[in-house]
Symmetry: C2
Subunit: 256 residues, 2 copies
DNA sequence: CTCAATTTGTTCGTATGTATG
DNA sequence: ACATACATACGAACAAATTGA
């Protein structure tokens, strides 16, 4: 068995589906452009180290999805352009995050069970005496792309319950008079969709997700806003400017 | 068929493996603590809407991995604490990134086929006349966690070929006299492991990955360093400070 | 000590899907 | 298209260990 075939066997996913996913990926990244002929079944059979029929099954899947067109005696051709689905830019700066959220229209969901206070890490401040739990789903068109669970310090919530019930919480907090924000931190890991979220987002159980946690601490050292946001993994893009012109001199040689 | 069972059918992954992954997740996040009894097979069968035997298969998998201990007549118990595998912090600031890379020991790989010049986006600068292609794998212990493909402008490489062949490239570039860096940008998306990378990282084909692209442009507007880095999705954690004390006043009310 | 309830272990049979040659 | 082998998933029945009344 070839080295690649061994790798394929690591996964419980059926071979022909793995092969299909890889072919789809190649089309998506533009390795095979629109209208272009892809490798022959025999070449692919060789490359992946699987049976000819298995490759055929994979290509059949792609044809069903309208990604390729097969023609006996000629070959298989890429049918359509694949749009870039990575349209959601995650913000890494406070001001652009606030701006993005302002234009956001969340669909709030009723929360049945009372939620426990958020668990806070060592550098995430002290817990407020009481929190209000808000849950909402973000849509683009009629497709859900993220689920937001917010724990908001009750005294903050009480200042404008109306607003918090129909808009994103962070911009409201940011512009509140008398609320002094000390730090805001965001953590991101790659996770997998648990049953409830998978249902809400319309993805398979354990599909890859981006799990963001955003904690806002005020001057008293109290975590007034703790959000756990789960994004579909297939729609997000995160951009960071590591360095730009005016600070290059200072930052180019960090001391150790 | 229950709502959840429908979600399970969305995936090509066998049912019992999906269930096992969900149970594993619950143990990892501490919903079932070490030593504690987990739900009975019958409860889980009910919850997931699958057959009893299927749940058993899932639990068997966890037992093989040493995560649980089953006892006839009593129940199934969480055996061990699960360590936090998210140990690799991705840097979002230039100086800390350079620092991290300095202590990095890459294992360089021979590159057989000549690589084409990197494709550059509209804001990623102009291409240099010629590039040198470097490829390396990063390890922690004997486990690979990322694969780095670097395209380095040839004139930069020629200044110190020796160094570039055994150390991470970015710190060398950063400290080079006469190289004036204008901007450095990093983009991150969630992807899936293609065959070759899956082999190098020891993960199944199409396992979730974090794909980072780092582009360094000099004062002439030329992309002197273009890196495509693929991390295992299961070991990274990205932390961003959105806001801290001293800039809070200025940034709290962004204009729109 | 016995009994019933609970919970996991084991084994059928059947149907369908996957992969090969 | 066909024959073969193996994996997946279900439902059902029965066995074995544990617990507490």
């Amino acid at each position: 068995m070839s080295e690649l075939a061994k790798t394929l066997r690591l996964s419980a996913v059926p071979l022909y589906i793995q092969v299909a996913a890889e072919l789809r990926r190649r089309i998506e990244i533009g390795r095979w452009a629109s209208g272009q002929k892809i490798s022959t079944i025999e070449d692919l059979q060789e490359e992946f180290g699987v049976a000819r029929v298995t490759v055929r099954q994979a290509v059949e899947l792609l044809e069903k999805d309208g990604l390729v067109r097969r023609q006996q005696g000629r070959g298989t051709f890429v049918a359509a352009d694949v749009e870039d689905t990575r349209w959601l830019k995650l913000d890494t700066s406070w001001s652009s995050l606030i701006e993005t959220l302002k234009h956001n229209v969340p669909k709030f969901m009723p929360v049945s069970a009372p939620m426990p206070a958020p668990r806070l890490g060592p550098e995430e401040g002290r817990a407020a005496p009481e929190y209000v739990f808000l849950r909402s789903v973000q849509y683009r068109g009629d497709r859900a792309y993220s689920v937001v669970n917010v724990q908001l310090a009750k005294d903050i919530y009480e200042r404008d319950p109306q607003a918090f019930r129909c808009h994103a919480a962070l911009p409201i907090v940011a512009e509140m008079k008398g609320v002094k924000i000390a730090t805001a931190r965001q953590t991101l890991v790659i996770g997998s969709a648990e049953p409830e979220l998978a249902g809400l987002l319309g993805v398979p159980l354990n599909a890859p997700t981006a799990e963001a946690r955003c904690v806002v601490v005020d001057r008293r050292g109290i975590a007034i806003y703790v959000a756990d946001i789960t994004y579909r993994g297939d729609c997000i893009r995160l951009e960071t400017t590591l360095l730009n012109d005016n600070e290059s001199q200072r930052a180019r040689a960090p001391k150790h």
